[in-house]
Amino acid sequence: MNSSHPLMQLTLVRFREFVREPEALFWVFGFPIILAAGLGIAFRNRPAEVLPVAAVTPQLSASMRTEKLLDVRQLPPGEAERELRNGKVVLVAEPGANGAVVYRYDDTNPDGRSARMLADRAIERAAGRQDPVASKDTLMREPGSRYIDFLVPGLLGMNLMGSAVWGMAFGIVDARRKKLIKRLMATPMPREYYLLSFVLSRLVLLVVEVGAVLGFAVLVFQVPVYGSLVALAFFCVLSSMSFCALGLLIASRVQTIEAASGMTNAVMMPMWICSGVFFSAQRFPNIMQPLIKALPLTAVIDALRSNMLQGASFAQLAPEAGVLSAWLVVCFFVALKLFRWR
């Protein structure tokens, strides 16, 4: 395309306005990466925790030390009691009548209950118990099943929504407020080019944006992408278009930035909460599920998660593609009907 073509010029304007706005750059690129890094660190998988416990006799103490997951201290009864009350130990083992053992712990504390089981097993085994069934552990620590793996598709979806809805709504309403749309209408500029320039610049920025977030997640956290990259790209583009249409709908009549920002938040907030960005949307009651499934953000996040974490095929993701397409078509045509060109 010739650089003096109006569509090219309009798209260039969109880029220039974007890159010359440092805050916009931060929210689109910096923010999701910082969020992913922060949450990734907070929820990193630590080695299984060692539980602090106390024993009041050397014999109990020696038995319990055979269990690696317990940190056993031998204390006189009074002090052991005090440490338990202060939370310094989660369990105290003391001898009972007739060679029995008494465990003191708070059964509402999961650590206390775990310590109870571990200590009991160690003491029984030390006393000669044979387990009738042999057992073996397989630990779940490989990429694909950690919280960060769950989180990255959610953040990606949230980012796709935010940048498209904001970019569209803010750009158009700002131009309308400044009477810039009216000024452009006074030139021979074809109207469709104006809207198309927003979509084109969004698509180009999308590549950079998704690349940055996904690249960071893959390189730093080894988040896997098991599904096809083509399907992943398809869903990024489709969802970005749907969210652009949603942004266009929000911007179609609004005159002020304040109104636009209020409407944008009102539209996006329920999706941030319900669509499973940070935790599974399954946690909401069953009665809400059909509604949640119909939200565009839920559809994107579900599709991205299935693609990245389970390697789902295109065919398996048809329902999500359907939801997104429906939003795209409906929002776009309603927006065009309502749009105020001045």
Binding site: Q9, L10, L12, V13, R16, L180, M185, A186, P188
Partner: protein, 303 residues
């Protein structure tokens, strides 16, 4: 060739208005704020639909030939804020891209004397420079007809004069201009013909000279005289030969005078006869402002 006419009813925006702008002339729509100037010019620009009536621009019609018309018009709107993050050159390149023909971007920038600012951000320009950039955006398509809506409102005198020079240069190329303004001096300097608008109607139409001649005498005299107890009897003043339309206005007196060299001595003699002291005396050649005041009893700006 061009001939525009419209009847339009809103609140009282434009009320049964007939106007014709002739090819090659600079036509001024003059009037106070709210007179309907902007509504009128926006109907001509095809930005606001008229409720009824007809508009013909360059022999074309907005309903049939909108596309062709847009290519031939240069439009400057009131209060457009161009994108502050773009440079002057980028802004002109954007607007230039919409037109099939016209000068190169740098040429247009040179026309409005912004060469030095070509790579400056629009946000860093002064008011006058922004206004010249807005004019440049209207010139990019080499228009046959230029619409300017209050091109110098809010500018300092020097910036206004600079803009007038640019508009005069454009006039020399023989193309047509329709401009609105509430500055009388602007209309007198730039326009071949003016229409004075008030409450959505044209109340006077003609060349600035004709208008002045039709309603006023050549000169205006204003004076203040008298003290609290000692008020001037105006009937005797009105009777002086060559003095007409004597009006009291906020403690001073305002009148039209045909022959200044005879009327002023006669006025002073009359004041002397009534023994009223003169505190202030001013005379000036009649302007369009005086035409407006005479026609409406109100000043153009203010209230």
């Amino acid at each position: 060739m061009r001939h525009l006419r419209k009847t339009y009813k809103d609140v009282v925006a434009v009320n049964d208005l007939d106007l014709e702008v002739r090819p090659g002339e600079c036509f001024g729509l003059l009037g106070p704020n709210g007179a309907g100037k902007t509504t009128t010019i926006e109907i001509c620009e095809g930005l606001t639909p008229a409720d009824s009536g007809e508009v013909e621009v360059l022999g074309l019609n907005w309903t049939r030939d909108a596309k062709a018309l847009r290519q031939r018009l240069g439009i400057q709107l009131q209060e457009t804020q161009l994108s502050e993050k773009l440079t002057v050159l980028e802004t002109i390149q954007l607007f230039r891209s919409f037109f099939h023909q016209g000068p190169e971007a740098m040429e247009v920038i040179a026309m409005v004397q912004l060469e030095e600012k070509a790579s400056a951000r629009v946000g860093n320009l002064s008011g006058g420079q922004k206004q010249r950039l807005a004019l440049a955006c209207a010139l990019v398509g080499n228009p046959d007809f230029l619409f300017l809506d209050e091109p110098t409102t809010g500018l300092d005198p020097q910036a206004r004069r600079q803009l007038w020079e640019l508009i005069e240069k454009f006039k020399l190329s023989g193309r047509t201009i329709l401009l609105t303004t509430h500055y009388m001096d602007e209309a007198e300097r730039l326009c071949e013909r003016v229409a004075i608008m008030d409450h959505g109607k044209v109340i006077a139409l003609g060349t600035p000279r004709e208008l002045i001649a039709s309603v006023c005498a050549e000169h205006m005299v204003e004076f203040s005289a008298g003290t609290h107890g000692h008020l001037l009897d105006l009937t005797a003043v009105s009777a002086i030969d060559g003095i007409r339309d004597v009006q009291r206005e906020n403690g001073s007196v305002r009148m039209q005078v045909t022959a200044l060299h005879r009327a002023v001595p006669a006025l002073l003699a009359e004041l002397g006869r009534q023994a009223v002291p003169l505190t202030e005396l001013r005379t000036h050649s009649a302007t369009l402002e005086d035409v407006f005041v005479t026609l409406t009893g109100r000043h153009l700006r203010g209230e």
